[in-house]
Amino acid sequence: MSHPTPAPAPALHAEGIVKRFGRTLALDGVGLTVAPGESHALVGRNGAGKSTLVSIVTGLSRPDAGSVAFAGRPAPAPGDRAGWQSTVACVHQKSMTVPELTVAENLFLNRFGPGRLIGWRRLRQRAGELLAGYGVDVDPRTRAQDLTVEQRQFVEIARALSFGARLIVLDEPTARLDARGIQRLFTRLRELQRQGVAFVYISHHLQEVYELCTAVTVYRDARQVLTATVAALPENELVAAMTGDTGGAARRRPATSGPASASASAEPVLRTERLALRGAFAPLDLAVRPGEVLGLAGAAASGSTAIGETLAGMRRASTGRITVGGTEVRPGSVPDALKAGIGYIPEDRHRQGLIPGRSVAENATLTVADRLGPLGTVRPARTREFARALISSLDIRTSGPGQPVSDLSGGNQQKVVVARALARGPRALIAIRPTAGVDVRSKDALLAVVRRVADEGGAVVIVSDELDDLRVCDRVLALFHGRVVADFAHGWSDRDLVAAMEGVGERP
């Protein structure tokens, strides 16, 4: 990998990159070489240095040492935005489009064409041609905010390509896509690869790496530890390279106590009777026994998230009722759900989980404010003490309870959200995509914590379309278009479950 073959120069060749921030070494002599038309995975745990490298190869920051070359030519000068734009682009998880403007305007923002007046017809026509050229089926008159996540990603990719860039960094592109969207994305990416576009693919999902990429580079603790072709690298070795462990694939399966722990005779802790939310899910009867983890599997639009939010009191069901330990829970009220003993891990920690500017202690104790002092007071000492207990029981990496939560890494932020859900000692825990956007090791830790709630006699509902999340469940219900379409006992096969979630064999 270090010597480009004489034929085509690599799309990206970075070598010996060093970057320090103050005393922290963020990159320690790392490299990355991507061949034209290749999808090259860049993986590593949170904080391994991937983002820093991306900011260097996209021209946002300058390395302290090392060289970057694109297609055999040295990188543009640091301030040369046009030069960078025509070389490389990064599609972030967060949208970089202007939501109120049309697709056509977003594509040609600030380069509407010759002359002072904007020729709208011509602009739309150019946009249409550009999109069609890459096989993207989007009306240029659509406003960017009305696009789906994958359409938006494609508009951003098309924009980058229209500048002449032939190298695109994709930062967690599948994080907010359902399985079908991922397949469509991959199909298009392969198409573009055939046209000679190279991708740097950053993802936590190793099966995607195996599906899409030809080569993989692993960073760990600011160093490059491995570059290999994907086909020659077993998954357990890849995981070992990322974590520095030699435990191998066995580690990836969270230690479960198995499905036997749910005693079939015990009274259900959490029960729903004909629970329904118009437009989201059809009447549903659930019974989750103590010690049981129930999985609700389904894509984003399947209604599974709505069920979770209804159970947690975020939404009010149109009919039916929820009981915890035989007592009915007042519908549509989070405080009442909390009081009844329902803990809630919301879907998106940025949107519903964290108060960004506030401390770890404050975020972790939001649900237990009534236990932090008498008569509606909150005692800082007891808050810290409570937070410290949560920090140590969940192994949250933080400099202390007073650290702002936004300074933590993604996995640790998610642990704060989980800590909050567990702070009241819930009898029933509702977890919606509890491991979204966290690295492999945090994922295992989080799932083990969720499992522990059940082992201690609680009832757990995991709403997810991640197979790793669902694997800790004793029972999985697959949802499609708001209805339960299949019921799987422990030991289901990936293919059967995915097929059920995708509605295979179902009328749409």
């Binding site: 963020a26 983002s51 900011s55 930062d171 989070v334 500017g357 404050e362 702002p404 932020q413």
Partner: protein, 365 residues
Amino acid sequence: MTGNGTEPGAGTGTGNRPTWKRRGSRGIRRLTAARPARGRQDGPPAPIRWSDFSLVPVILVLMAIGYAVSPVFLTSGNLISVVQQSSELSLLVLGQALILICGRMDLSPESTIGIAPVIAMWLVLPADGGRFAGLELLPAGAAIPLCLLTGAVIGVINGFLILRLRVNGFIATLGMLTMLRGLHVGITEGRSLTDVPESFRYLGKTDWLGVPAAVWICLTLFAAGGAALAYLRPGRALYAIGGNPEAARAAGIRTDRITWTVLALGGLLAAFAGILYTGHYGSVAATQGNGWIFQVFAAAVIGGISLKGGRGTLFGALTGVLTLQLVVNVMTLGGVPALWNQFLNGAIIIVALVISRFAGGERQE
């Protein structure tokens, strides 16, 4: 990176994280500029931000300038008059600060400060005799409770518009501002009311221990408010609601109820400011409070309160009020012609904003 837009790639492996973020590259600094990133070992849950004190040196400099400009400045008479004049504005700022911290905005207090005393007086003044004919529905002793109730009701109506009907709070309270001003002019027929109830006069004029009662009351209310924000559940909840309302709701905080209460409290404080102001000057002009809202927002933002919610302290807000009042006082003592006051006032607010922006090191949002 990974579902985590604010984390630009530090090592999770190290125990104490991100001292380097401040010195990071341009892109990184942009991402983290909105918060101080010192690695604290074990601070209180609400870490002390030096930006809350950024106006203290400004106040000291202003006092030095004042002393240089006129020997009168440092006399107790002058300083007391500065704090006395700050007291009404500071109550509006107190209410507005609470509303801003929980992520809302209320423009109506500048009219509430006038209309609340007017309605109270209208209900208690005798129907004949005197320059202004009241309704004489209630005894004069009810004036203060009536005035406070009026303010709270205005806040509750604002809350209804914003939280139940979900209309835009800025425009709704702007409409309320205009409407209440019109109501004030309509009821008083554009004249000043001078038959001020004795209870108003007492609060506005009395001195306790040589300092006006209004000043003591304001200080007490600020201290109580500060303690509530730090040590009471609803107080902590304000920061959560302002910082991320969805997350606050998911954590079981009754966001609407608390926001509604805060809006009512804002109206109540504005009405109380109206009592103090009316009592102090012995009359209610048809323009009482006119144009104040600009000063209220300026003081709050200079004092480090974010217009986007979730950030700021009452101490900061109070220093904002004092800064603005000291500037006016120093200008007056310096013999600046009154015709230039408005120009200088605006200019000073802009300068103060810029100073506090850089002294605090944080963007003002």
